[in-house]
């Protein structure tokens, strides 16, 4: 009599423990909004964009192609005393901004990981969720939204502690014309056409999200990317205009560097709500 009862009890407990295939969380929604909305002080009466140096730009096309939105978890142990100056990163790293540096092999490494490396720690970043986002955004309209929801079979979330989000962008392309309406008349009264194609750096934002059964099972991700209206600031159109034809901004080394610096002023924000 006792043996069947014992077996039944063990089976009952095991049944509770080994539930079939339930994840620790489910992705309920995921979206990316891309914006280009200059303030009124940046626009003239004809709707042209004013640069800091006084040029007026008519923008005929402006398209952003994202690549993916990644979420990362940090594992390992941090060391102590491994601080560094982002303006003077250690050997093997460059272009430190927004909480991460570019390693020579092209990888994006967070400040914390570099500090851990310098101090003998062992922090490592693992991508725990990757949402492809290859839909082009037409930013001439000011704002566009894309769903990043993966197929239903890919919406299950594993248990973990998310520490960072990274928006990878593929290309930014734009074209238009430029005039100098100031007294400096740097373009000799001409209206010149211009174009640009950039491969933007990634943008990251620290997050602190726990995926487990105590913190809710459904997670909604809302991300926004706001292209900086300062993108064309500091560009020496006068020098570029010395050559005939369309001014291809990304083919001039100093101009491309200035564009990259200005583009880094864009804002990336992600909100995760259970």
């Amino acid at each position: 009599m006792i043996r069947p009862l014992l077996i039944s009890t063990v089976l009952l407990v095991a049944g509770c423990t080994f539930q079939p295939g339930v994840s620790f969380g489910t992705l309920a929604d995921a979206s990316l909004v891309a914006r280009f909305q200059p303030p009124a002080s940046r626009l003239d009466a004809e709707g042209r964009l004013k640069t800091a140096s006084g040029y007026r730009l008519r923008i005929d096309s402006l398209q952003l192609v994202p690549r993916q939105l990644d979420f990362q978890a940090t594992t390992g142990k941090a060391g102590t005393g491994g601080s560094f100056d982002p303006a003077n990163p250690p050997a093997g790293y460059s272009l430190c901004h927004g909480g991460h540096c570019h390693r020579d092999d092209g990888a994006l490494i967070s400040y914390e990981e570099i500090e851990a490396e310098l101090s003998g720690g062992s922090l490592a970043t693992v991508t725990v969720l990757s949402l492809p986002a290859a839909t082009p955004f037409d930013l001439l309209s000011g704002s566009a939204t894309a769903s990043l929801m993966p197929a239903p079979s890919s919406r299950q979330l594993n248990r973990g502690q998310w520490s960072n989000s990274v928006l990878q962008l593929a290309t930014l392309t734009a074209s238009g014309s430029v005039e100098d309406t100031t007294a400096f008349n740097r373009l000799g009264g001409q209206t010149r056409s211009w174009s640009l194609t950039l491969n933007p750096s990634a943008f990251s934002q620290k997050i602190d999200v726990t995926i487990d059964r105590e913190h809710g099972e459904r997670l909604a991700i809302a991300s926004t990317f706001t292209l900086s209206e300062t993108l064309w600031d500091g560009i020496d159109f006068q020098t570029l205009a010395a050559t005939p034809g369309t001014l291809v901004l990304d083919q001039h080394t100093a101009t491309k560097a200035q564009l990259g610096e200005n583009l880094a002023k864009s804002q990336f924000n992600v909100t995760l709500t259970p």
């Binding site: 303030p39 002080s41 940046r42 004013k50 640069t51 800091a52 140096s53 006084g54 100056d85 982002p86 303006a87 003077n88 100031t182 007294a183 400096f184 740097r186 300062t230 600031d233 500091g234």
Partner: protein, 185 residues
């Protein structure tokens, strides 16, 4: 009854003495031993723009440029958090010249000079910008000898410096509503 009366007076005296001692201790404790204001309170009253400007005015290397006269496009003094050492051309036994500030934002700016130099600012349409406030010093440091607050729009603003007796002046420009930034950058 008489026993109680016999001890009442000494007990009252003891209680009074204890009370006075305790009150004295509290008063002594409450009294400020150092009446000078705390440094944090003092620093809080100094505008952030002045603190930043004085740091850039007193530390680090300056970017040297030469101002221009006439209808030449002036050199730019637009890099943020930078001290410009501006050489002024001679003008009628004094010195004067123009530089250019490319404003990326419509807001109030504060211009700090290490010399007592007169300033006229023209907006992108070559209209004179009214100076909102001027002073011959900054509360943050003694290096500043002229301080001007002006509203800038987006675009190039021409700064006409002088005439002055000084052949070089140092200039630092900060946004009036200054935001914190990383000095490493």
């Amino acid at each position: 009854m008489s026993t109680r009366n016999r001890f009442a007076a000494p007990l009252a005296a003891l209680a009074l003495t204890s009370g006075l001692v305790l009150a004295g201790c509290q008063l002594l404790t409450a009294s400020p031993t150092n009446p000078t204001p705390s440094p944090s309170a003092s620093a809080a009253s100094i505008p952030e723009a002045d603190l930043e400007a004085c740091e850039h005015m007193n530390n680090g290397t300056a970017t040297a440029i030469t101002a221009v006269q006439g209808d030449v496009t002036p050199p730019s003094v637009s890099a943020g958090h930078t001290r410009y050492a501006i050489t002024l051309p001679a003008s009628n036994e004094q010195y004067a010249g123009k530089v250019l500030y490319n404003s990326s934002e419509e807001t109030d700016y504060v211009l700090f000079f290490d010399q007592d130099v007169t300033l006229t600012v023209l907006d992108p349409d070559q209209q004179v910008v009214a100076i909102e406030a001027s002073a011959s010093s900054s509360v943050a440091c003694g290096t500043v000898k002229a301080r001007y607050v002006l509203p800038f729009g987006v675009g190039p603003h021409t700064l006409q410096l002088g005439p002055t007796a000084a052949s070089t002046v140092s200039l630092v420009i900060e946004e009036s509503a200054h935001e914190e930034h990383d000095h490493a950058n």
